[in-house]
């Protein structure tokens, strides 16, 4: 493997036909290195699910290229990917035990029964899937996904149905999987705090494109919150600024050192950063070096 989990160049996907089609993704480019735990965040309708469906090989892009685990055709590497869709698709008439058995049968040679059983844990084996609560269904879907021992996990809103205790426990299980096997994990949510702390990588999708991408730490430290007397913010890129009386508060992307004699400087939280970008749709995108898709030269060489 080349150390890249997902690489997208100019990805586009439009639903519906003609001029009235909805552009779910548009000119979406990024790279996700392998072995990272990535938060895929953005407002409702930003294109998160579309992106995960494309990466899982369930859908094809209208334009652009997408390579997953080194393959230009994500569907061809489906055996090494676990995708848990938002609605947790399972067979409602099967029991919990039957579902886990089917997981083992469908993943010969890969199935990790101990892990799957441990995650399924407290679920009643004889209960039918249709009788399970939303949270229990999530637990079963994650048991299947982890039992497959995937190299890449694509989890669409995995924590939405879980109570706080189950959320903490299952997030712990996912982190342990990442620690032990170096599994790449992408988790979507429109609630950042759900993922903060667990993720070391960030893809912030908004309006069908990646607006911020890279190591969460580096993205935060590339920005600063400045407070001071109204003045010139150059050379920094202003994401958002607000004046109250004589005081100016601005969130900027640093272009060189900040003049600390003129400004009181603090580091924004990731949440402040995302909110500022949501309010400022024209702020230029930022990809850290590891999140920039490889040069065109590479693309030609591997084609």
């Amino acid at each position: 493997m080349n150390g890249v989990a997902i690489e997208a160049r100019g990805l586009a996907r439009t639903y519906g036909r003609g001029g009235g089609g909805h552009r779910a993704l548009h000119d979406c480019s990024f790279r996700l290195p392998a072995g990272r735990v990535c938060a895929l965040v953005g407002p409702n309708g930003a294109g998160k699910s579309t992106l995960l469906n494309l990466a899982a090989g369930l859908d094809r892009p209208g334009a652009g290229t997408l390579s997953v685990l080194g393959s230009r055709d994500p569907a061809a590497v489906r055996g090494r990917i676990a995708h848990v869709a938002q609605d947790k698709p399972l067979y409602p008439q099967l029991t919990v035990a039957d579902t886990l058995w089917a997981g083992a049968e469908l993943n010969p040679g890969r199935w990790d029964r101990a892990t799957a059983d441990r995650v399924a844990g407290t679920l009643p084996g004889t209960a039918r899937v249709r009788a399970l609560s939303g949270g229990q269904r999530t637990r079963l879907a994650l048991a299947l996904a982890l039992g497959k021992r995937p190299e890449l996990m694509l989890l669409d809103e995995p924590m939405a149905d879980l109570d706080p205790l189950a959320r903490h426990e299952l997030m712990g299980v996912l982190m342990a999987e990442a620690a032990e096997h170096g599994t790449s994990i992408v988790m979507s949510s429109h609630i950042l705090t759900e993922l903060e702390g667990a993720c070391d990588y960030l893809l912030f999708v908004d309006g069908g494109r990646v607006r911020l991408g890279g190591e969460a730490e580096d993205i935060v430290s590339a920005h600063a919150l400045l407070t001071g007397r109204d003045g010139d913010l150059a050379p920094h890129t202003v994401v958002e600024s607000r004046t109250t009386g004589r005081q100016l508060t601005a969130l900027v992307r640093k272009e060189g050192p900040v003049d600390t004699t003129a400004w009181s400087v603090s580091e924004p939280s990731l949440e402040e950063l995302l909110l500022a970008h949501l309010r400022a749709p024209d702020a230029p995108p930022l990809l850290t070096p590891s999140a920039v898709p490889g040069a065109v030269r590479e693309a030609v060489a591997s084609a």
């Binding site: 426990e169 997030m171 712990g172 982190m175 342990a176 990442a178 620690a179 702390g197 667990a198 070391d200």
Partner: protein
């Protein structure tokens, strides 16, 4: 999985404003000062920490690297991360009758008598501390 269980566990407070890796560093140092951790003790593995706390594995590794850089712990391949030395020197200095503590208590009384509020004294102390130890962090 491991024969001997780890000697401490970490508690992560997401609202504290302190970076998560620093919380692990600080809690380890505190355990060393209190004698909860002793030379030869094994720190929990990254897997153990993340399973219990649901934080990212790289955060734990970053904290352990920092502790290793400070010479407090060492990683032994395939075995885990072990305590090398304690932070015992501080224990004598913080005892109730230690000279440094007595002097500081005198100083605090004088500050109070001079009309400084507790927060003023705290800010003054932090400022002096910062300038005295300036540069140590980067070493």
């Amino acid at each position: 999985m491991t024969a001997e269980s780890a000697a401490v566990e970490f508690r992560i407070d997401r609202r504290s404003g302190v970076a998560t890796y620093l919380q692990i560093v600080q809690q380890t140092k505190q355990a060393l000062r209190l004698g909860v951790l002793e030379p030869g003790d094994r720190l929990p593995t990254a897997r153990e920490v993340v399973e219990a706390t649901a934080i990212n594995p790289n955060t734990v590794l970053k904290a352990y690297r920092e502790l290793e850089r400070e010479g407090l712990v060492e990683a032994r391949r395939g075995l885990g991360t072990f305590v090398r030395r304690t932070l015992g020197g501080a224990a004598d200095a913080t005892a109730a009758d230690a000279p440094l503590r007595t002097e500081l208590a005198d100083w605090a009384r004088r500050a109070r008598a001079a009309g400084l509020e507790k927060d003023d004294v705290g800010a003054l102390f932090t400022a002096v501390l910062d300038s005295t130890y300036k540069g140590d962090e980067e070493r």
